[in-house]
Assembly symmetry: C2
Homo-oligomer: 215 residues x 2
Amino acid sequence: MSSDQLKLYESSGSPNSRRVRIFLAEKGISASRIPVDLGSREQFSEAYVRINPRRVVPTLVLADGTGIGEVPAILRYLEEVYPGTPLLGTSPKDKALVTMWERRMELEGFAAVMDTVRNAAAGLKGRAISGPHDYAQIPELVARGRQRIADFYADLEVRFTEVPFVAGDRFSVADITAIVTTDFAAKALGLPIPETNVASQRWYALVAARPSMAA
Amino acid sequence: MSSDQLKLYESSGSPNSRRVRIFLAEKGISASRIPVDLGSREQFSEAYVRINPRRVVPTLVLADGTGIGEVPAILRYLEEVYPGTPLLGTSPKDKALVTMWERRMELEGFAAVMDTVRNAAAGLKGRAISGPHDYAQIPELVARGRQRIADFYADLEVRFTEVPFVAGDRFSVADITAIVTTDFAAKALGLPIPETNVASQRWYALVAARPSMAA
């Protein structure tokens, strides 16, 4: 499915951008990718602030010029307009459970990784929280964040001894958030899923092999 | 609309529980409310952990026994099953924009208030993050949190000089999250919307007058 009407403003190194790229690839939707250079702080440029006043990537811009920010909002739009290959669940109950599990992956995993990175990275001094406002780093959050990631991996291992995918029997958006989280923890913090977490390793191998993961 | 089949496990003082109670009242859905006594740590009891392994309120339990945790997941279920009086948006674009604004209220407002309260309250020592794991409080987060709340109020004021409701022209779930945030900031931290934020005060008076707000 192709849409020359959709523009995705994003960054190749941004984990939030990757969540959307994988989602698009899984559903077979093509959007024009427009790079935003975070290294040169392009997200703070006047042109980009008009597209996304929160100054974060990604943003999906529709044919009528509407800018949609925030990953769950972008994915909700895409699922509504391209219902084939559902990734946010099917029945009302299933949609709720996928939403719950995706959110748990984000709060317990993704947010913990981002918090750890943002409060530690020398290049993010004064930028401990993304968005329009500057906040100083708090070094204690780095140790807390590493503990949260360890707890996240332990809880995930328990989950994968019970079900094959994060939300249950089927691949869903919850798996996308989880694998983007683990890949970024490995890359940015040297904290991959522990080797001894056998059930998680089995899940990882299965999901990482999907062609969409190269997106 | 009545459903004797729905059970809401919740706490009267919990802001996340209030988000669901207001949503139910706006849609005219009745659910059996089952109190969970956070004061006596009932959320850690064996019985409740079976209902919600994350040990947080609220949880919506369906007729078949399925427990749905996480407020956006609960609201998604209710909107799917009771589509009358839509609060999560109507068209795909509208749904996406409501999702975006609700999330911004949560990330920039609600989460900032909760983080400030949890890292400050004497009764929450060792419980700086809700959920199954214990994390020590970090006092620096209290000052950062107060700054985040000030920034949230300033941004909200700009928004309300442009549109009457958080997500635009119509009342939506984004207003529910915003007013629960401001009420809890006032009650728990003594940080109501500043008197001088005239547009926000107008919005507050309008929304606070809705009968659902007593829920």
